[in-house]
Symmetry: C2
Subunit: 276 residues, 2 copies
């Protein structure tokens, strides 16, 4: 049994128990799904990741049809928006201990989406490190203090994103995006089996950028890269223009990838793709 | 400005915005305060830790008088209970980014407390490791999935607690308690500058168990210990009787400490302290 709570734009809700473990411990997972012309973008990939996360946290299986219908109802009539799903272990249990019978809680909400842009972005290095925790790596769980602290490191509005390393100095991701770098004519993206989130767009890129290798990445690999881009399921492919003193020109592979993405998912189509 | 939300035993509440960052990211801290004969036990220590946590997370300063009064009102007339405070960054901000103006949210709730016992307990080793994250170490923040996963490792009701190591194999704490071991006639407790919570009772013990050393602790140090106890602010001092095949007899230092605690805080007094 799932307690379905549907939120409107104002955050009005039918019912929410304040003893919910999502609030008490961050005991749950979430998804942030782009809406384009009333449709959910990459539903299957989001759903699969949410189920994987739920399984890793030993949350009960969720009912796809019911949740998809509720999300579609939220999305309908919206040209461009975000549907967010939060799926928690509900209430109960003594302290951290799991309740004998888990009744998960589902929160659905609709949010405005940032405007789409194919402009190259400026990024920085974050000092906040990602802790190495294989038990939670890859999944989009609700324990996000590291990202909050990392994003709080800068206020300069010209900086779009911050790159994060784990506490052994390996590059993992940006605060809210995955990273790809071209190094010695080879596209690379970090392994995320110790920390980081397995992004839905990262998955699409891995399937569409031929020969990309998943491997350990150092800061030097990034600084010496021939090209860098970030990606997430709301903003698509974001070419990196600047990182500290380092700048990059637009790269044909990235333009090609943006074009392929816009063909595959009209949500990411711009009238005019010419990079920076 | 603080939005004060007071919960009754049923979890009824005045108002809670479901976009709250406490739910979205675990963006906040909490305290679990024992109530004895209508009074809050160790208020000052709990308050100081909460403020330290808030500062580390860059949360606005909270108003002690107002919150203390609200907690005291909740506690009044309860012989034995727990008052829980959750203090979050409120709502707003774009994604992980902090809102321009933070209006923190305060949730206060009253819970039944487990019965006090001076019985020795059985513990186990948890497989779930604590990630090393100095930026979050020591404070009682809302990102508690590691503890949830660790506590979910066993269902055997005769096992009271699970001991946790960091991912370099150092012993840190139990899922909901700090640990002290007597090794070569010296009391030791782990350093918690990389992970773990600086417990209020740990602090009391450090002030009251003469010569206790804070240092790195290995599993072997625990297994070879002459005595072991756990402590937290609800259950007080818990002598460990058994850990796997290893058993310990009661130790006079632990009995002495339980006695001193019961004198210092009547909340921890039992009519008859004779250990196991």
């Amino acid at each position: 049994m799932i307690q379905t709570i549907v939120l409107n734009r104002k955050g009005e809700v039918s019912e929410f128990d304040l003893q919910n473990r999502g609030l008490a411990y961050g005991d749950g997972v979430f998804e942030t799904i782009l809406v384009h012309q009333g449709k959910l973008v990459w539903w299957d990939a989001h759903w699969q990741r949410m189920c994987l996360g739920a399984e890793r946290l030993r949350l009960p299986e969720a009912n796809e049809n019911a949740i998809r219908q509720a999300c579609e109802a939220l999305a309908a009539k919206h040209q461009r928006a975000i549907v967010k799903i939060i799926y928690t272990r509900g209430s109960g249990g003594r302290g951290y201990g799991l309740p004998a019978s888990v009744i998960p809680t589902l929160l659905l909400s609709l949010h405005p989406a940032p405007e789409l842009s194919h402009q190259a972005i400026a990024v920085r290095w974050c000092e906040t490190m990602l802790a190495i925790q294989p038990a939670l790596a890859g999944i989009k769980h609700l324990n996000r203090l590291e990202q909050v602290l990392a994003r709080a490191e800068w206020e300069n509005a010209t900086i779009d994103e911050g790159l994060m390393c784990d506490n052994e100095g390996r590059v993992v991701c940006a605060t809210a995006a995955n990273i790809f770098v071209r190094h010695k004519s080879q596209w690379l993206t970090p392994i995320i089996d110790r920390c980081g989130i397995a992004g839905v767009t990262r998955r699409w890129v891995l399937e569409n950028l031929a020969g990309t290798r998943v491997q350990v990445l150092s800061k030097d690999d990034v600084m010496q890269a021939e090209a860098v881009f970030l990606c997430n399921a709301v903003r698509g492919i974001m070419p990196v223009l600047r990182l500290g003193e380092r700048t990059w020109a637009s790269h044909p592979d990235i333009l090609g990838l943006q074009y392929a993405l816009s063909k595959s998912q009209p949500a990411f189509a711009l009238g005019d793709i010419r990079g920076t």
